[in-house]
């Protein structure tokens, strides 16, 4: 299991569009990716609705967990993605 934390810089937070792109990315990986908020709520990154339901805003710190498959590479890819898009 690999984990990293990231503070959202996108001014609109993880909204419909970024969430959609994130879900698409996550679906392409052979690991299970989970996004968790500071309040303990979490959602699978492939579940668009669940992720939008978290209502993650700009400035919030999320914990991303990558489990199974090629964790090392997938976690790195996810971290890269977060930095570029969120």
């Amino acid at each position: 299991m690999k984990q990293f934390t990231y503070t959202i810089t996108d001014p609109v937070g993880i909204h419909a569009r970024p969430a959609g792109i994130l879900a698409k990315q996550a679906k392409g990986l052979d690991s299970t990716v989970t996004i968790a908020k500071a309040d303990g709520r979490s959602a699978a990154a492939t579940k668009l609705m669940a992720m939008m339901g978290l209502g993650i805003k700009c400035g919030e710190t999320v914990t991303v967990t990558v489990e199974g498959g090629n964790e090392e590479a997938n976690a790195a890819a996810m971290e890269q993605f977060f930095k570029e898009n969120l």
Partner: protein
């Protein structure tokens, strides 16, 4: 902030229960004792030959009378200790001791101040009293409650305090009585200056209620009933029953404050000719609707139950109605309709207020210890004689109430098709909990992967799970009918599980949760607390966690075809023509868009609102078939930050096809430079074979638009 206040009030109300639970017994002693030592009563029933002053029976009865009075006379002390116990988080016995000491210290300090300022004669009339032999200010139960709350706060703050090595003997719990003594010495001095001002204020408020006459009585009764669902009724009626707000009277030369205290002082007094209605008007109203009205309502619910379910509903209703009639504990019955038909409860509140008013008008002088059941009616009404109490009006008004309640409820249930017990739709029958249900619910299979199947106390296990596991509970207690819990994360509470464990309702207020079980709640609570001490309860957390993903997967296996209707009126736009890459390349999922001609977004199908963006420009819905829909008004409109959008629904709300979800100002949004094209996207497109638009060109909201094939 509001939630926090509710949480505190809930705990205060709950902590009243311990001293209040004593009142029926004390009332019984006082009621029997005083009835049979009252000269008028004895003469009326020709008992003077058997019970006479100096005789053994008379002495025994007089002892009962006086011992009962002792409880009522020292209620403030009982509240000081009881509230401290109820509000203390741990080491409650220390809080009790501290409460008693603080109460004595405060009153002694006040007493010394009174002496220093020229004695009782220098004080305003009727503002002083003698408590436990201490001449002090007349503070009623408020004095006790102030002490109880203050002591509990100090206790929770200091019971773990470490003192330097030399003084360590006085540390920890031993420090609590010490700090309480010093603090309440100061509080006592302060009270000497503050309380007279409060007394004036309370008396004025009481006067207002007293002077507003019959209407005031009606409002009092209505509010008292309306507060029951919130569990705040104890906080409301206590001041009327126990302080100057409920009136002041001089009985046998002693100044008495509070409606209930006045009634019981009159009961204990052998010179009482007629009980003062000015006091009993805050009590007598309960009798007609509790003994007669609510059973009428129960009969109506029984009659309207489906024939095949009548027997099962009857058992529930009869026991609840009998509890109300005998003891005046009405919550089991009230809660059967409060949650399914709040309107019926509103009617009930109005009728209850009227009952208080009618009893006031007919001069009914019957008091009570706790509530208005047959036991209290017998002791404090019938046994006291009609001449003193005019109790005969209770059955007279009561019979009318029975008929009125029966017909009102019967009509409301049938006309509005309310789902009272025995009228549930097929499949949602409130069945009793069995172990197999529990297994099915928790998702623990016969492979015994988790210990749930072998849990020693499945009901407690289920309650604990329903409350989000042991780690989620910060505080568990109960009152007469509800489990009162403070949880850490309110989102983890599962109402369905709690209801299956036998609860008739669940009330949420922030982190305060009240689970309504009925009078057996005390047993449920002890079982739950015992269970929480067993190691089994720790393992349950993992069961809950393991079971949680299961329901999420379940619908995936049972996908069904569905058709979504147009979510707005306008012109259909295929997704690949939407001028936004994220939508047109179907990154979010497949779907269809509409260029609106009217600024209104409607529900395309029956669904639950899964999420609503706080900018109100987009909304997520989940249909019963499991279709996850995203409706996104306009392109990039998130940047408007909610301006020009008005949401008409809330997260978690169930909507019907065609319900208005969001309205928006088309002109303003266009003027701000945004496109209004509104896509409807199936977010879980991957779970389906195909998602296909079925219409093009101009379309009216509500006509079939998008076909989803499983």
């Amino acid at each position: 902030m509001k939630d926090k206040i509710f949480g505190v009030l809930q705990r205060v109300g709950r902590s009243f229960m311990l001293p209040i639970a004593l009142l029926p017994v004390a009332g019984l002693l006082l009621g029997v004792g005083s009835s049979f030592t009252n000269q008028t009563m004895l003469e009326a029933y020709g008992l003077t030959g058997v019970i006479y002053e100096g005789g053994v029976l008379y002495t025994v009865l007089d002892i009962m009378n006086q011992c009962g009075s002792a409880v009522f006379n020292n209620l403030a002390l009982l509240f000081a200790m009881g509230v401290a116990i109820g509000m203390a988080k741990k080491e409650k016995e220390v809080a009790a001791l501290s409460g008693a000491i603080a109460y004595l210290v405060m009153n002694t300090a006040i007493s010394a101040m009174i002496t220093a300022r020229g004695g009782v004669e220098a004080m305003a009339a009727n503002t002083t009293t003698s408590t436990l032999g201490i001449t002090t200010l007349q503070m009623g139960v408020f004095g006790g409650i102030i002490v109880g709350l203050g002591v509990a706060a100090l206790h929770n703050r200091f019971y773990k305090t470490q003192l330097p090595q030399v003084l360590s003997f006085f540390g920890g719990t031993r420090f609590v009585p010490i700090v309480c003594t010093t603090v309440f010495l100061v509080v006592g001095i302060a009270m000497f200056f503050i309380w007279p001002v409060v007394q004036t204020g309370i008396a004025a408020l009481g006067n207002l209620v007293l002077r507003s006459g019959y209407a005031g009585t009606w409002i009092y009764g209505l509010l008292e009933r309306a507060l029951i669902p919130f569990g705040l009724h104890h906080v409301f009626y206590m001041p009327f029953w126990q302080t100057a707000m409920g009136g002041t009277a001089v009985i046998d030369g002693v100044t008495i404050q509070g409606a209930q205290n006045i009634f019981f002082a009159e009961l204990a007094s052998k010179s009482t000719q007629v009980f003062s209605v000015e006091a009993t008007r805050f009590m007598a109203g309960k009798f007609p609707f509790m003994i007669f009205g609510l059973p009428g309502a129960a009969l109506a619910m029984y009659k309207t139950a489906k024939p095949e379910k009548r027997k099962a509903a009857g058992g529930l209703l009869i026991s609840a109605a009998l509890t109300a009639m005998l003891t005046g504990i009405t919550e089991p019955l009230e809660f059967t309709f409060l949650f399914v038909a709040p309107l019926m409860y509103a009617v009930h509140c109005v009728y209850a207020g009227l009952a208080y008013m009618l009893m006031h008008i007919f001069n009914v002088g019957v008091g009570m210890t706790f509530s208005g059941g047959i036991i209290d009616l017998t002791l404090f009404g019938i046994l006291q004689g009609n001449a003193k109490t005019h109790w005969i009006w209770i059955p007279i008004v009561g019979l009318v109430y029975f008929v009125v309640y029966y017909f009102t409820f019967y009509l409301m249930i049938t006309k509005m098709n309310l789902k009272t017990p025995g009228r549930e739709d097929e499949g949602e029958e409130t069945k009793l909990f069995t172990r197999s249900d529990f297994k099915a619910k928790t998702g623990v299979g016969p492979d015994g992967s988790a210990p749930a199947g072998s849990v020693s106390d499945p009901v407690s296990a289920m309650i604990l799970q329903g409350l989000g596991g042991k780690a989620n509970l910060s505080d568990v207690d109960c009152c007469a009918t509800r489990l009162r819990v403070t949880v850490i994360d309110a989102d983890k509470v599962v109402d369905a599980l709690l209801k299956q464990s036998g609860a008739s309702g669940v009330i949420h207020k922030g982190n305060g949760v009240q689970v309504v079980y009925g009078p057996q709640v005390a047993v449920i609570k002890s079982n739950l607390v015992d269970f929480m001490d067993s190691p089994e309860s720790d393992n349950l957390g993992s069961v809950t966690a393991a079971a949680a993903p299961a329901p999420a997967k379940a619908p995936a296996e049972a996908r069904q075809d569905a058709v979504m209707s147009a979510h707005m009126s306008g012109t259909v736009v295929p997704m690949d023509q939407v001028q936004d890459e994220a939508f047109s390349t179907c990154v979010l999922g497949e779907g269809v868009a509409i260029e609106p001609s009217e600024g209104k977004l409607f529900a395309p199908a029956d669904a639950e609102v899964d999420n609503l963006f706080d900018t109100h420009h987009a909304i997520g819905l989940v249909t019963p078939e499991g279709v996850e829909l995203l409706l996104h008004i306009g392109i990039n409109t998130v940047e408007l930050k909610g301006q020009h959008f008005t949401a008409h629904v809330e997260v978690g709300e169930k909507v019907k096809k065609g319900d208005l979800l969001i309205s928006f100002d088309m002109e303003a949004i266009k003027a701000a430079g945004y496109l209004l094209t509104t896509p409807m996207i199936v977010c879980n497109t991957d779970d389906y074979q195909s998602v296909t638009p079925k219409a093009e060109g101009a379309i009216k909201a509500g006509t079939p638009l998008l076909e989803v094939k499983a």
